[in-house]
């Protein structure tokens, strides 16, 4: 018995009638079985109906891949009904990753060339949605033919299909570039819209196309003018504005064409002024056009008066009641904040107001913009606002806000004390959301501000006494108390309230941190080490500390156990060394020191296209080298960035073990010119995995000496680079004694190494300057 197949509506009714999820699944599975059977039987009459049902089921989330071949059969059928469902199925079920999709190429080709425009439309639609690169290549000529056919329906679809093709296969731009100029003369808005989109896509992809299309700027201006000045045209108007979609697209294209181009910008000036002043802003459509106009004005080389007008319009929109308008205004200001900083600064109060919005999207935008507007003059006020925002904002914005405040504080802090206060406040409010390096930054900051040690340790102690749940705060506080415990107990400090702290209380607090279930293992490590350090700082006897340390000698956590055992040993066998080992730490070096910043600016200078260096620039760089030489002579700071002294302690007490021979890395010749050769040789010392030593050797096989030889290097920001003094600055001729120079590179992140070298020297009576990046660096140098 042949079961009569359900119509789509009936199936939907049945599915809606199902009371539970299980029932729905049952109904659908039964129906899918029918559909599968029907596909197997190959019933052509009802195939489209079966596929329609399958597509519905697919939307609800059930598997429908067995319908893919049926789509192909339906597309190949001559009936329009079949094709319609078939193409829809192709768009929903097939995509480039399935092999089956190529099979529809032929059908599409046939459908494109036969005359029924509805069918051609279907084929183009499918091509533009799921067309893969191969399909696009095959069908490009077909689509191009359709571009210039008489029917406007097919043409507008062909134009947009061309855009998709160019996205998939950029080489096809050549085919679709010529018809554009002619298409711009069309009156049909659909074709115009598509053409403007096509030209925009072409210009974004190739600077040559951009230059080519600059000559259509007057025509675009003309079209926009007509749109703006013609009266109410029912056909295309949306709330009184004439085809705002087309206006917006044209404005966007004008923006691309006018960017950095005086001539085009001038042609547009009048029109932009007209649009900016005459657009009706009572409805959304007008506002959409106005926003695009403002963005275009700011991007091109417009007259100064026009720019002022644009920023004022944005300011007005910020005060609008409509939330959508404010959102878009904030987004636009964010785009401009880099280029027109002072203009945007004027609206800072309003932006800060928007921080207090209950709407999450708005406050997020306001946060980004506020962070971008912080500068040295308003940093105190802004930080105040941002802190109060941090206290009341939604959890997903907290992390961004906290790191933003910390970054701003780092860049613009007026005083160290203010900086410490700010970080402290952020840690107390949103401690769980700060980034991991905030702890390291703060300890380094406190360590460097000697006059503030007493102040910091007091503040941190009070904060810790109140709340031991925020891990970064606890870690910093524990470290501080350990280092400066003696200052804490001393009592008098002018900057805070007099605080009488007893030894027992301090020890009790640290023990509480150790035992608390809220403390992370790292925090416990900090606390234990702090306790240990206090054994030398405090005046009382150390019984309590010794007890705690010996208890933790059998702790389950291996890291803690190791530390406790070592500290125990310190108390017993090495008591005479204890005071020396637990002395105050020297300043830990990390990024943010003057060397690093100077290196960063040097890298920025070198990474621009090679410009002829001016004299002051060269001497600044030479000074930099001297500075680096100076620091090399001074005591070598420990390479580890971990501020915990427990780390270095472990190294001290480690028994020396046989170090494996370093794997040898082949030398690299990086430069050769007129007899001067530069070689790099690499060594990775086995003890420090992040360290790479490069020896630069300059050999001269030519007939003339190379004098005033200077080699400078730059690396990406995450690396640390130290250049040692070269062995000399003259490379004698005929292969004389080469000049060598040692580079030390620290790569804690194991990021791929990039190295840029700059050479200046005199050779054969000419001064030479070479800047190049070293390619082919072997992987062993950074892995």
């Amino acid at each position: 018995m042949v079961v009569s197949s359900l119509k789509l509506q009936d199936l939907i009714e049945e599915i809606r009638g199902a009371k539970t999820q299980a029932q729905e699944r049952e109904v659908i599975q039964k129906e899918c079985a029918h559909i599968r059977a029907s596909f197997r039987d190959g019933d052509p009459l009802h195939r489209h109906r079966q596929l329609a049902k399958l597509l519905y089921v697919h939307m609800l989330g059930y598997p429908a891949h067995f319908g893919q071949m049926e789509c192909l059969k339906l597309i190949a059928s001559p009936r329009f009904t079949d094709k319609r469902v078939g193409y829809l199925g192709a768009m929903l079920l097939l995509d480039e990753r399935q092999d089956a999709h190529l099979l529809i190429t032929n059908s599409i080709k046939n459908d494109l060339s036969q005359g029924i425009q509805a069918v051609q439309g279907l084929a183009l639609c499918t091509l533009s949605t799921v067309g893969s690169a191969e399909m696009c290549r095959d069908l490009a000529t077909e689509v191009e033919k359709l571009l210039l056919q008489p029917g406007s329906y097919v043409r507008k679809k062909a134009v947009l299909t061309a855009v998709h093709m160019i996205r998939k296969v950029p080489e096809l731009s050549n085919i679709f570039l010529p018809p554009c100029a002619q298409l711009l003369h069309e009156r049909h808005h659909g074709i115009l819209l598509g053409t403007v989109t096509l030209i925009t896509e072409l210009c974004e992809r190739s600077p040559a196309a951009l230059k080519h299309f600059r000559k259509v700027v007057p025509q675009l201006v003309q079209i926009l003018q007509t749109l703006v000045t013609t009266g109410y045209s029912v056909e295309h108007s949306i709330s009184g504005v004439s085809d705002p979609f087309l206006q917006v697209q044209i404005l966007r294209l004008l923006r691309i064409l006018g960017r950095n181009h005086e001539e085009s910008s001038e042609v547009m000036n009048d029109l932009l002024a007209q649009v900016a002043t005459n657009t009706d802003t009572s409805r959304n459509a007008g506002n959409a056009v106005l926003f695009e106009t403002v963005l275009t004005i700011m991007d091109i080389r417009s007259a100064a008066g026009l720019r002022v007008l644009a920023v004022n319009i944005l300011g007005r929109f910020l005060l609008n009641n409509d939330k959508n308008i404010r959102y878009v205004a904030l987004t636009s200001l964010l785009r401009m904040v880099q280029s027109d900083h002072s203009a945007v600064q004027r609206h800072r109060p309003t932006v800060v107001e928007c921080l207090r919005e209950p709407d999450a999207s708005l406050s997020r935008r306001a946060l980004e913009l506020s962070l971008a507007l912080v500068n040295s003059s308003n940093v105190r006020a802004m930080t105040q606002e941002l802190q109060s925002f941090l206290e009341s904002c939604l959890p997903d914005l907290r992390a961004d806000c906290a790191s933003g405040i910390l970054l701003a504080a780092e860049r613009f802090a007026p005083t160290k004390r203010w900086h410490i206060d700010t970080i402290l406040r952020v840690l107390t409010t949103a401690g769980t959301h700060v980034r991991d390096d905030a702890v390291a930054n703060l300890t380094q900051l406190i360590g460097g501000a000697q006059e503030l040690h007493a102040y910091s340790v007091r503040r941190l102690y009070s904060a810790l006494a109140e709340d031991i749940s925020q891990q970064p705060l606890v870690q910093v506080a524990a470290w501080c108390i350990g280092e400066y415990g003696d200052l804490l107990l001393e009592g008098g400090c002018e900057e805070t309230e007099p605080l009488q702290v007893e030894e027992e209380k301090v020890l009790a607090l640290l023990e509480k941190v150790l035992q608390s279930h809220m403390s992370l293992p790292a925090t416990r490590g900090y606390a234990l080490t702090a306790l240990m350090k206090l054994s030398t700082r405090l005046r009382g006897d150390n019984n309590r500390i010794r007890q705690v340390v010996s208890i933790y000698g059998s702790c389950v956590d291996v890291e803690l156990q190791q530390r406790a055992v070592e500290y125990n040993t310190l108390f017993r066998k090495y008591d005479h060394m204890r005071a020396a080992i637990l002395e105050k730490m020297p300043l830990v070096e990390r990024g943010g020191t003057p060397d690093e910043e100077a290196k960063e600016s040097k890298e920025a200078q070198l990474s621009e296209a090679a410009l002829v260096p001016t004299e002051p620039q060269a001497s600044k760089l030479l000074d930099l080298l001297d500075l680096l030489d100076g620091t090399f002579e001074a005591a070598q700071p420990p390479p580890a960035l971990e501020p915990s002294p427990g780390g270095t302690l472990v190294h001290l007490l480690d028994l020396p073990c046989a170090s494996p021979a370093p794997a040898s890395i082949p030398d690299l010749r990086v430069f050769e010119r007129e007899g001067l050769q530069l070689n790099l040789s690499f060594v990775r010392p086995p003890g420090t995995p992040a360290l790479l030593l490069i020896t630069v050797t300059a050999v001269n096989t030519s007939g003339a000496d190379v004098t005033h030889f200077v080699c400078q290097a730059a690396v990406p920001k995450s690396f640390h680079l130290q250049l040692q003094a070269p062995s000399g600055d003259t490379v004698p001729a005929q292969g004389g004694l080469p000049v060598t120079q040692l580079l030390r590179i620290l790569n804690p992140n194991k990021a791929p190494l990039r190295l840029k070298l700059r050479l200046t020297y005199n050779h054969f009576g000419q001064s030479v300057q070479e800047i190049f990046e070293v390619n082919n660096l072997p992987m062993e140098t950074w892995q």
Binding site: A52, M59, A64, T81, L88, L160, E235, H236, V328, S361
Partner: protein
């Protein structure tokens, strides 16, 4: 470009889902669920823009949505589209649906998903806006429907009859059919009580 167009109701059941970038079916369903979560949390008087969820491409993409009675219309777009423009586009789409279905409601969308797809295909193609003139779109849809109906054969007879009756102009049929001077005698039928 427009990455996806989703219509779902207040409980998250999808009524239309169209993706303009290749995603696997699992990912598609996940995107629908994630979008529903994000959009349903919104209050009534906040702005219509949201950052995109992680699956759809994170903060580069935006969700622009409108809430009409029981349905959410969500367009997921990237940064090259004008946000206010998309809001207008959603409005045009809904108005076009209204015109094609005559006072469209959720049930129309449920039972005629394929038709909604066809209408959408006339407006947005390959992730780009194709046509925004409502009359043009409706004309095209009508022409295509006619093409379908003419192919339908016998199975389409009831539908054709219905449309014939609908397009019949009743007031023009003469009320008095004058067939000359024939007197018809009405028999005296017993009255049925």
């Amino acid at each position: 470009m427009i990455k996806a167009i989703l219509i779902f109701n207040n409980h998250g059941k999808p009524r239309l889902s169209k993706f303009y970038q290749p995603y696997s079916e699992d990912t598609q369903q996940q995107i629908i669920r994630e979008t529903f979560h994000l959009v349903s949390k919104r209050d009534e008087n906040v702005c219509n823009f949201l950052e995109g969820g992680l699956l759809i491409g994170g903060s580069d993409n935006k969700l622009i949505y409108r809430h009409y009675a029981t349905l959410y219309f969500v367009f997921c777009v990237d940064s090259s589209e004008s946000e206010l423009g998309i809001l207008d586009l959603i409005q045009v789409f809904v108005e076009t649906l209204d015109k094609c279905f005559e006072n469209v409601c959720e049930l129309d969308l449920i039972f005629h998903v394929d038709k909604v797809h066809n209408i959408l295909a006339e407006m947005v193609m390959g992730g780009m806006v194709l046509e925004t003139n409502m009359n043009e779109i409706v004309t095209q849809i009508d022409a295509q429907n006619k093409l379908e109906k003419s192919e339908a054969g016998l199975a389409g007879a009831p539908a054709r009859a219905v449309s014939a009756v609908k397009s019949m102009n009743l007031p023009e049929i003469p009320r008095n059919i004058n067939i000359g001077d024939i007197s018809i005698k009405v028999p005296n039928l017993p009255s049925f009580k």
